[in-house]
Amino acid sequence: MIRFDNVTKVYGNDVLALERVSMEIGQGEFVFLVGASGSGKSTVVRLILKEIEPSAGTVYVNGRRLSAIPRRQIPRHRRSIGCVFQDFKLLPNKTAAENVAYAMEVTGQRRRAIRTKVPQILELVGLANKMDKYPDQLSGGEQQRVSIARAFVSQPPILIADEPTGNLDPETSVGIMQLLHRINRIGTTVLVATHDKEMVDVMRKRVIALEDGRIVRDRVKGAYLDEV
């Protein structure tokens, strides 16, 4: 589903964010990506979205080499991935509901489908009463949950979440993780970059650990800090 083949990413000329990273995430897997601040987690996410290009090596998603996807087909590629961004990336001129709806609209779905689906998903993340608020009228955690809802809503085959619970209280975080777990069980491949030690330890899923841009650990049923 997602394969990194000796991927190196250098920002500018001097910042080595990823160094010869190779990994493979199969269909339907649930993977945690952990590592200190600045270790390269978000860079992995951005590579998968083809937001940036690797400096060396190859990234495959859905069996396709990303460097071979022409510009015109990038939107299609991205629509196959639901992404919770670390900085939320909500559209400031759209309400919570509209932000979520937008992810369905880009796929050309019918208004009827959008009208029924969006409230359901917002209900699921506990924002039923905030549907018509604009991002700057929402608290940090609420914005994060809108971003989560948007990533879920069109049920993409791949779901990536970059630090999805950083602004959420432990209780809500558990709820979100359960949601991710459920989504994973219906066949969605899930990749979660996180610092939430407790969560990682509880879930007992595959853990890939980055350190200074290199993979230092890859355990099938790992913890945040495994015995090495």
Partner: protein
């Protein structure tokens, strides 16, 4: 993906409402530019019209020889009137000539014994640039001698030269206004889209295609351009009516004509310019931020 016009329209209007400051600013910019452009077009049209009617006032006078018969005179008058360059021709008999002379220089006229003034034909042309050609033709026709044909050659030359230059200057000014409008309006659009570049980036990251991102902006550009230029066009047309009316009442001797400006096509051009710049400006400005 089906082309979702309703969605794009809704998006565009919602965005315009939310970014009211920007929309109003862009529309105002369009309004000002199109207004100045339109006034430039008015001036252009009226000056051209004035130049044309000044040209019509230039006259060629051909004096008949003393021995010309009534028959010859009649034939000459008919022939001249039939030429396409000729707008109007008037016959001035010996008697009328004397009368005019007496009116203008009575002191000298007193001293005249008999009537030394010849009969003549006064010819006004559609285009004073044809004066030389018509003079030649008058000689060829055999009724007149070269030295009996009088027209203000130098004046006509100068008039032609200057009206030629004025026409070019006016075209240059209109071109300058047009270029300025294109630049200024697209600058305003570029700045207002620059303010929203993050939005474009986000839209691309959640899977929107280039066109999907662009369409609402293009519709916005179109609507802003349409509103700005339509209002400006109405003001321009009103100004024209107002000016023509005023001129006819206050400077009736000055050749200001209501028909100098084709209001319908002027409005059409102004609105087209506004809309095209709005659409093209948005299209191109958005493109710069689509590379995500």
């Amino acid at each position: 993906m089906r082309f979702n016009l309703g969605f794009f329209l809704r998006e565009a209007f919602k965005n315009m409402r939310l970014n009211l400051l920007m929309s109003v600013t862009a529309a105002t910019t369009t309004f000002m530019c199109i207004l100045v452009l339109g006034i430039g077009m008015l001036v252009n049209a009226h000056v051209s019209d004035i130049i044309r009617s000044i040209g019509e006032r230039v006259e060629i006078t051909a004096f008949f020889p003393e021995d010309a018969t009534q028959q010859e005179i009649r034939q000459a008058r008919e022939e001249v009137q039939s030429w396409p360059e000729v707008r109007e021709s008037t016959y001035v008999s010996k008697e009328e000539a004397l009368q005019r002379f007496q009116e203008s220089l009575p002191e000298i006229a007193q001293n005249l014994e008999d009537n030394p003034l010849p009969a003549s034909i006064e010819i006004s042309l559609h285009d004073p640039a044809d004066s030389q050609a018509v003079a030649d033709r008058l000689v060829e026709s055999g009724y007149f001698a070269r030295e009996d044909i009088s027209y203000p050659a130098q004046t006509i030359d100068r008039l032609n030269t200057i009206t030629g230059y004025i026409t070019w200057a006016l075209r240059g000014a209109t071109a300058l206004f047009l270029i300025s409008s294109v630049l200024l309006i697209s600058n305003a659009i570029r700045l207002s889209i620059f303010a929203r570049r993050k939005e474009i980036e986000i839209q691309k990251l959640v899977g929107a295609s280039d066109n999907f991102v662009r369409m609402p902006f293009v519709v916005e550009g179109m609507v802003q351009g349409l509103i700005g230029s339509a209002v400006a066009a109405l003001v321009v047309v009103w100004l024209n009516f107002f000016f023509v009316d005023w001129a006819n009442r206050n400077i009736p001797f000055f050749p200001i004509s209501a028909t100098a400006v084709d209001t319908v096509s002027t409005m059409a051009i102004l609105i087209a310019v506004g809309v095209i710049i709005g659409v093209a400006g948005s299209y191109l400005s958005v493109r710069r931020f689509l590379k995500v």
